[in-house]
Amino acid sequence: MWHSLLADPASTFWLPIRASTSAADNDWLFNFILWVNIFFSVLIIALMVLFVWRYRAKSAGEHGAAGGHNNALEITWTVIPTIICVMIYYWGFKGFLHEAVEPPAGYDITVVGRMWNWTFIYPNGYVSPDLHIPPNKPVRLVLQSMDVIHSLYIPAFRAKKDVMPGRYNRMWIESDDPGTYDVLCTAYCGKNHSTMLSKCVVEKDMDSFNKWLEDVSDWRGKVAPIDQGRIYYNQRGCSVCHNLTGAPGGTGPTWKDMFGNTIPLADGTTIIADEAYVKESILDPQAKIHLKYGPPSPMPSFKGAFKDYDIEAITYFMKSISANYKGPDLKPYTVPGPKPTKSPGEASATQPAQ
């Protein structure tokens, strides 16, 4: 409701550019307190100057007037500040509560602070040095520190939270203004504390955010499929149920020597574990269920979580650990020099031109 009073999100003399949905309330309170400040400073200082001039000593031996106290006056100037303080407290607490209570249906990003850089881990496992967020969607940041106390601060969002080692802190942000904003560390963390910067890019819409994430997460041409398959195995929870040692038991069948092997199915038939079987099992685990693990299969569907080339990478990885795979030798290769993840040439205090 206060937004109408402060329609202009551009930076003012006191406050930086405003780009989050809760910043307007915050700025309203800031400006309210600012005016209270100005009123009382001017009042007190003006009275002080006035008294100094009006009641200046006329002669060296002069005495001031009598009068030691006035209870009514003193109670008045105790009560008025009290009322103002209670008002400010109430609004401050209300605004804070809004920032403290996480809205549902948020998007989760894990923030890792270390001496002296930030990394942002996306749900698909992509690790970014910059924070990219979709607009008009509450984004929940889970903060963790690798070493000392840091503090994530985004001035344009009026948002800040300490990043504590040994515990998780959470904060949420929601921006309605696409652009690039500063991300700073505000808890002193050693030598290069002042270089612990990053930037927050608010994408134009959800689609462009998804496209960005898809583009940066595309590993093709940078990582060998076989390596990427191993990464997915470790990252996406495959390792929780499928072991690589061939040991019996567990929630799912071992991957050792699985590819090319004959799999007994729950409906009594068998099938050769080939590319088609692997892909089908990842996308629709209930289609062909291993005899010992179901029905129903305890495995969740990964439909939508993996692209075709991701599944291909997993297949390559399975091939490389299977003695039943009869094909050319799968030597993992690495591309020299990974693609730079930081886009060069950006200025430090990048803010959108208004």
Binding site: T110, R114, G125, V127, Q144, V223, I231, Q235, P338
Partner: protein, 385 residues
């Protein structure tokens, strides 16, 4: 120098012009009652600050106990509660003799005062002796505070054999190097266990492309993962808690208990030493010894302390022991001599009597405080599980 001495005398013992009657009345007080009340107020306030200081420690203790109840339940088994109980009795007794001594000084019975003070100091020696035995035992089992502790190594996820999982016989005197050499073998076994403890929010292996590393050392164990039920079960069924009952996070924190134990008892022990020194000073004044003779026992004591210091520098436990023993015996000898009032020492009846017993009273208060703190420390560290 002479100006200084006169200056001190002027203030300390009172200006003749101001207080011709009472040599103990300082010049800025009007009468002995005011001076006594001021001193007593100041001492009480100072004792208040002491309690607040230990209050901080008790607060830290509570926080850790609340967060890791199992650690405390298991680790306090390493303390010998009988030695602790003995020390409690010793301190309470010495508090009694101290209070009695204050009364004796108020009644003017100087002989009783000397003997009671002597017995009180002996209580201090007894206490510190038992404490030394306890500390020595901890040291032998590598249960010292900080990185020397056996369980400190658990932090690097490298469990080693220690007090709670060592063989009952023969192992206790093993060299620390021998213990550590076994570490890698055990490490293999517990490594998966550590991984299983890792919180779920932490994306496992979140470092595909070198942009970010694994959490290299700050393994996060949120408090809610601590199964607090074990401690409760242990208390209810009166059943021995085993090292294996602890989860990995708590195993890694076992040594914190010893840090807390040594810090609390060490600071308290320091207060006992200060208290003993103060009572010694009161005893000297009560025995009426010539001031010049006060320094005589100081010579062997200094030699002993210097030897102990050399021992610390050279890392020789034997030298430390010898030094401490020399200091203890020489001071003990002095205490006995002043208590029985060896004729060669005494020149007067002693300073304290019904007119002036403020120092005895204040030192007595201090000694009671030291006693009081121990009465809290003993159950908190030795008894509660």
């Amino acid at each position: 120098m002479s100006t200084v001495e006169s200056n001190v005398a002027d203030h300390g013992n009172g200006d003749a012009a101001h207080a011709p009657h009472d040599p103990h009345l300082a010049h800025h007080f009007e009468n002995p009652e005011q001076q006594y009340a001021s001193a007593k107020l100041g001492m009480w306030v100072f004792l208040g600050t002491e309690i607040l200081m230990f209050g901080g420690l008790f607060c830290a203790y509570s926080v850790y106990r609340h967060n890791h109840p199992d650690v405390f339940a298991l680790a306090h088994e390493a303390l010998n509660r009988w030695l602790g109980a003995a020390n409690t009795i010793v301190l309470i007794t010495s508090s009694l003799t101290m209070a009695w001594g204050v009364r004796a000084s108020q009644l003017g019975s100087t002989t009783a005062l000397r003997w009671l003070l002597g017995v009180t100091i002996l209580g201090g020696y007894f206490f510190m002796g038992i404490k030394a035995i306890e500390y020595n035992t901890k040291w032998k089992h590598h249960l010292m505070p900080g990185s020397g502790n056996t369980y400190y190594a658990w932090n690097g996820q490298t469990p080693v054999k220690g007090f709670f999982n060592e063989e009952p016989e023969g192992e206790k005197t093993a060299e620390p190097t021998a213990n550590k050499s076994e570490a890698p073998a055990v490490a293999e076994k517990t490594a998966p266990q550590v991984a299983a403890q890792a919180p779920r929010e932490l994306p496992p292996g979140a470092a595909p492309d070198g942009n970010a590393g694994q959490p290299d050392h700050a393994v996060i164990f949120p408090n809610y993962q601590t199964p607090k039920g074990i401690a409760a079960k242990f208390g209810a069924a009166d059943e021995q808690l085993k090292l294996d009952d602890l989860n990995t996070g708590d195993k890694q924190r076992l040594y914190t208990f010893f840090a807390v134990y040594f810090f609390m008892t060490g600071l308290h022990g320091l207060h006992v030493l200060v208290g003993m020194a103060l009572i010694y000073w009161i005893l000297l004044r009560a025995s009426g010894a010539r001031r010049r003779l006060w320094l005589v026992p100081a010579a062997p004591m200094s030699v002993g302390l210097f030897l102990a210091y050399l021992g610390v520098v050279c890392g020789s436990p034997r030298l430390i022991a010898i030094g401490v023993a020399v200091a203890a015996v020489s001071s003990l000898w002095a205490v006995v001599r002043y208590t029985i009032k060896a004729p060669r020492l005494a020149t007067s009846e002693g300073e304290f009597g019904p007119d002036y017993y403020t120092p005895v009273d204040l030192v007595g208060l201090y000694w009671h405080l030291v006693d009081l703190i121990w009465i809290f420390l003993f159950p908190l560290l030795y008894l509660i599980h």
